[in-house]
Symmetry: C2
Subunit: 274 residues, 2 copies
Amino acid sequence: MKITIVGLGLIGGSLAKTIKKHTNHTVNGIDTNAETIKLALSQGAIDTNIADTSLADITFVCLYPEATVDYILEHNFKPASIVSDVCGVKGFITSRVDKALSERGVNFIGTHPMAGREFSGYEYSLDTLFDTASFIITPTENSSEKCVNLMEDLAYAINFKKVVRATPAEHDEIIAYSSQLAHIVSSSYIKSPTHLRQLGFSAGSFLDLTRVAKLNEDMWTPLFLANKDALSGEISEIIKHLEEYKNTIDNTNASELHKLLKAGRILKEETAVL
Amino acid sequence: MKITIVGLGLIGGSLAKTIKKHTNHTVNGIDTNAETIKLALSQGAIDTNIADTSLADITFVCLYPEATVDYILEHNFKPASIVSDVCGVKGFITSRVDKALSERGVNFIGTHPMAGREFSGYEYSLDTLFDTASFIITPTENSSEKCVNLMEDLAYAINFKKVVRATPAEHDEIIAYSSQLAHIVSSSYIKSPTHLRQLGFSAGSFLDLTRVAKLNEDMWTPLFLANKDALSGEISEIIKHLEEYKNTIDNTNASELHKLLKAGRILKEETAVL
């Protein structure tokens, strides 16, 4: 197949590299940065740099949410081909492009490769980024089973560990918890005045809790706002549990504190495979 | 030197193993579990199992906080020798044993090896547990410089990466943030109802945030309550920042959200070496 990737950042670049590594598909790369194109060509991550978007069997648009919507609505794609986005929110994108593409005879299949790094840009893309990751596909009533299966096969071919299907709404509700909240909590954690005093007083737990505070605010700001209700609900939920701990500690209630900690430990153990 | 270790759990066992691995000191082990003693002897983690506590030059009492205090107050130690605890709270221990030991001519030096695992007990102890860890020493006005230096030398000899000195109060304030809060946040995070739906929707950020929810509630309950004011203050602090994020998201305030995320990212980058 001919696959075009628009936006050779961390995800787009890693898609290009994994497709070239694991399959015989040709990869056409489109990026506004001429240096990135040059580098990707020289590394064999892309075969060509052709601006015409109507040639590909699958087009991955790997831009920020609003830019993804604009790009998809403003370009022409091959009839009966697949156009996919890779954004971390799916309702926002799907509601804006699915019907429009369908009416033009193009198949929109939203996806979310569940992988990332604390670094952005093509130079950090890896041909191993997806080796332990899930590939989430969010079909709609317009999605043909054939196209969804083709995307699933491609995901397994480029070494994703698991493919999951969900509705855009399900995806957004769950991702508010499993990914977006992690970044909000990590960024909140680091803002204690005590943070500047912890030299030499920290171990693995601290490093784990604060790792993703190193985030790309340009990317995450629109992602959070495109999923605000679900994310706001999850922030309220963790605040509720933090307050429960605080009250229990303030009251020196050892038996209740022990009970709360034990419940969390058991929940973690029982869901370790999830 | 003759070193006695009381309580061969994760930390006591790892101290025994690292002392035997890196030094020529003899290690005497005391534990209520006969199987643990048998195993530690067979593995060479301890040289002897002698009940007499008055023979050692250094005694590490590696028990939970209240048991540590009771043990220290109820046993006799060699005059001019060092008795040390390894608890994660230092004010609680120091205020209860420092003066009493000093009056008996024994040197109390509180320490906190900043290392742990999600598993407890001798069977999980490692002779590499401290290789990337800090060893915190909390001297008091009764601590002789000679004894503090001796403990510092021992810590470096058994391969701690760094030795830090602090007052017990400083230690407890900082550890409330750098370690205790991490466990409370992780345990709170996992309690969202969405947790049971996240199969296939999670990546590294989620695993990082929830790793230490798998904690030993028997150990952490007394540690949290022995440091309740500082910990409660840190929980309030993170709730304040979470609420700031929630309000900003609820108000769809993109510029403020971007500003908050950027500030967190810069703080993380600038303190990456801490």
